[in-house]
């Protein structure tokens, strides 16, 4: 393969798209770390937005997994702080 044979516009678009995806990966990783979890805990969840939504869901319906919801709330000091953090992570 020779760079001369690669359409430069295509290459630029490809790299721009990859950088966006890589930035999304970083956001996801930072959110997981902030929750005190590991990548393995969320390996089946592709984005920070989905993780944030899922944790919000867990906090909204704690009946079946209250210990985990409580751990997340305790880590952030209050449910409000946790939800604000999740909103911020989902928006990044």
């Amino acid at each position: 393969m020779d760079t001369n044979t690669i359409d430069q516009q295509y290459l630029q678009a490809h790299m721009d798209q990859l950088r966006q995806k890589a930035a999304a990966r970083r956001s996801r990783r930072e959110l997981i770390k902030s929750l005190g979890d590991t990548e393995d805990d969320w390996h089946d969840t592709p984005s920070a937005q989905e993780i944030a939504s899922y944790v919000k869901h867990m906090v909204a319906y704690p009946q079946q997994n209250s210990s985990l919801a409580e751990r997340y709330i305790a880590r952030f000091g209050s449910k409000q702080f946790l939800l604000e953090h999740l909103e911020s992570a989902a928006a990044s």
Partner: protein, 216 residues
Amino acid sequence: MRIDELISFDRQPVATAQFRQDLSDASDQESDIVPKLKKLIQFKRHSAPDQSMSKKDYILKYGPLHGYWHYHLIFGRLIVIYALDRDQIRLIRIGPHSWIEGGYDPGFEQYIKGLKPSDYTPFELGDDISVSDLNAQDLAKLKITLYGLATNATDRDMLKAAVKGHVDQDMMDLMISNLDGPSSDAEKWLSIQRAFGGMSGLSKAIATILRNTEIS
């Protein structure tokens, strides 16, 4: 050490006829359900009885379905209800999360509690549920990415470090972002290395690309 840790489990997946129908209906609408289900089954075949695959997989601790498991195929929206014993993963239903929120649908509860061993039959989703080898298109995208990085001054330094064995997270993120699918990032990175014949092969490929390119 717990007794579970000494026992090697090899559970066989079995499913109800209703589960098969649910899967058929759901996979018509959501394309990535089958790979997610395959990963769950693979994990549960050998897991300890109380071991979750991820945060989205947990045992119901209260209510009439206490002791059954549910896993979010699509968070908060679509779940699979299943049960585990020593020898089987019993796949029961796929359906909306509302089944287990607040009050239970009496018909749903009655259905689950009325199931008999003869209602389950062996269930197969294919054997190869690990990361498949990369296809030609994925490989081409990876090579184009390396060329793209090699022609950018900052990224070129990242590639030079990789040749010496120091692969930083940014480079891994960029490479992994070429691959779609439900595999974890770690699995995707391994898959990339395998495609180049291991880390040494990847380093050689990068060195070749660096030799044949210059900053644009």
